[in-house]
């Protein structure tokens, strides 16, 4: 299975579970959110397809020496 094919919550599933969890999403907003999720996933798929096997995340943890 390619990274792009990995199962993901559908927009409808997300909206339902988010509403159950108490996130205030109106029916009117739900359609807009679902549409945005679909369009954003094309960008997500583009990033998923990049071979990052040789790369650590670019979030650096930098310990700093205490003074004194």
């Amino acid at each position: 299975m390619s990274k792009q094919q990995e199962p993901r919550e559908t927009p409808a599933e997300y909206v339902i579970s988010a509403a159950r969890a108490g996130l205030r999403i109106s029916a009117q907003h739900a359609a807009g959110i679902a549409k945005r999720i679909e369009s954003r996933r094309q960008a997500e798929d583009d990033v998923r397809a990049i071979d990052t096997s040789q790369h650590e995340p670019a979030v650096a943890f930098r310990p700093r020496r205490l003074s004194g």
């Binding site: 959110i33 990033v47 790369h55 995340p57 670019a58």
Partner: protein, 472 residues
């Protein structure tokens, strides 16, 4: 008689102040007068510090008269985007949510401006929570572009762009997570520098995306950006991402000209069908002007560049969810429909996709470093499309399923938030309908000096910065 200082550069103002031809009080009064004249049209400011600024100006005048001149920003009016803390004043982020968010201390940027003797004039308008490329904010009222009041300023540092372009302040601070300094600089016809990530402190600056947020100068001249950088850049232990790199004098190499500068022009992504023809032509002319004056120009293959904006958004959106999660759950009505839908939809992004974007970012930076190994800077358009009208953007951002405001505006700028490279927009011409065009000059990490040198060289040769918007 007081000389006309409305559009004076920081160098010009500093010389007038130092020679006693004009006082900081007169410069500050002129700034407030200009704001009073233009604000009904532009809506560039959210708060003005008239009393405090006049007091700072008087103190600057006294210090200079007493021989304690602090440098080129002493007595110079500056605006701060309303994400930057000023002790005792609310930092609103352009949102009703933060109307009473009074800062207890100055941001590091604010404190450094005060140390340089600058006069903090006020807080500039912005897109709510800095989330938008067109520059609109239905809550605070849309800022308007001084070159055409029906057009967008670009965002999210929209008020800073309009205020500088209209001559209200000599310089202003913007912030840039996907292009929010460079887009309004391009659309308003001024210079705007996103420094290297970590070069300018974000301490006391409201967050949007910790690993993509940058703060930097916006001004009418590249040399003004260099003066502001001299005041604000440098290590700050209050900012966990601050770079422990030695401070530089960014004005030193400014006048080295185009001779010998190595300019790369990407063959991929930053040109072609998706770029407006007038914009592409203006950028090509800028490259030719530099080549005709001694710059070495090479084409660079950059097939990977098309991933840059997607990686940028793959990082910005989950980080912005983390920033806004609690507030958007408890106070969703305080967000615009568009911003609320963007944040709520991003709540579906899996942790593994965020990590993948951060891994892809490192891959992308390696590719970019390799591509730029033999050049000092690259020249590209700042934005690919012409300046949208406020009306068309306003309509499109009303609906919940509307595309993010600004259309394709950030697709080039966001690439360099992924890499964290220094990136400058300077004016490089005007469209047939009179709107400014932006040239983006991007350098290697911590090579702000090379970027500013290239921008100053081009600006001096082309002279676009001498044009003034038709505001009266």
């Amino acid at each position: 008689m007081t000389p006309d200082i409305t559009y004076a550069s920081i160098d010009e103002l500093a010389a007038l102040i130092r020679n006693g031809d004009v006082s900081p009080v007169e410069v500050t009064q002129a700034a407030f007068q200009r704001i009073a004249d233009t604000e009904p049209k532009l809506n560039a400011f959210l708060e003005l510090f008239e009393e405090g600024a006049m007091s700072e100006a008087r103190r600057a005048g006294d210090e200079i008269a007493g021989g304690a001149y602090r440098g080129p920003l002493h007595g110079i009016p500056i605006g701060l985007k309303d994400l930057v803390d000023v002790a005792g004043s609310p930092t609103t982020g352009g949102s009703p949510l933060f109307q009473d968010n009074v800062a207890r201390t100055d941001a590091t940027i604010t404190r450094r401006f005060r140390n340089a003797g600058a006069v903090i004039i006020g807080k500039t308008n912005l897109v709510m929570h800095a989330m938008g490329a067109a520059g609109l904010n239905p809550y605070t009222g849309h800022p308007r572009n001084p070159w055409n009041l029906e057009r967008c300023t670009g965002g999210s540092s929209s008020g800073s762009g309009a205020a500088v372009a209209a001559g209200c302040v000599a310089g202003a601070i913007g912030t840039d997570t996907g292009g929010s300094i460079r887009m309004p600089a391009a659309l308003c016809g001024i210079a705007g520098l996103k420094p290297t990530y970590g070069r300018v402190s974000r301490a006391g600056v409201m967050d949007l995306s910790w690993s993509c947020d940058h703060a930097g100068p916006m001004a009418r001249r590249v040399s003004d950006c260099a003066h502001i950088m001299n005041a604000i850049a440098g290590y700050d232990p209050r900012d966990p991402a601050s770079a422990d790199e030695p401070a530089e004098d960014y004005t030193l190499g400014l006048s080295r000209g185009a001779q010998g500068l190595r300019i790369g022009v990407p063959k991929d992504y930053f040109s072609g069908e998706h770029v407006d023809r007038e914009i592409e032509s203006a950028v090509r002319d800028a490259v030719e002007l530099m080549a005709g004056n001694g710059a070495e120009v090479v084409e660079l293959p950059m097939p990977f560049a098309a991933h840059g904006r997607n990686i940028n958004m793959g990082i910005v959106m989950p980080e912005s969810v983390a920033v806004h999660r609690e507030n958007i759950s408890q106070h969703p009505e305080t967000y615009t429909n568009e911003i609320r839908a963007r944040i709520q939809s991003a709540m579906t992004i899996a942790a593994v996709d965020y990590i993948q974007a951060q891994r892809a970012r490192r891959w992308f930076i390696e590719k970019m470093d390799h591509a730029m190994r033999d050049v000092d800077v690259i020249f590209t358009p700042t934005v690919p499309q012409q300046t949208p009208t406020i009306e068309e953007q306003d309509k499109s951002s009303m609906g919940d399923d509307a595309p993010p405001q600004g259309g394709t505006l950030p697709i080039f700028t966001g690439v360099f938030n992924t890499t964290g490279q220094p990136s400058l927009s300077v004016p490089c011409g005007f469209t047939q309908d009179g709107m400014p065009i932006g040239l983006m000059i991007t350098g290697r990490h911590f090579a702000e000096a090379a970027v500013l040198r290239a921008g100053h060289a081009y600006e001096t040769l082309a002279g676009w910065h001498d044009r003034r918007p038709p505001l009266g």
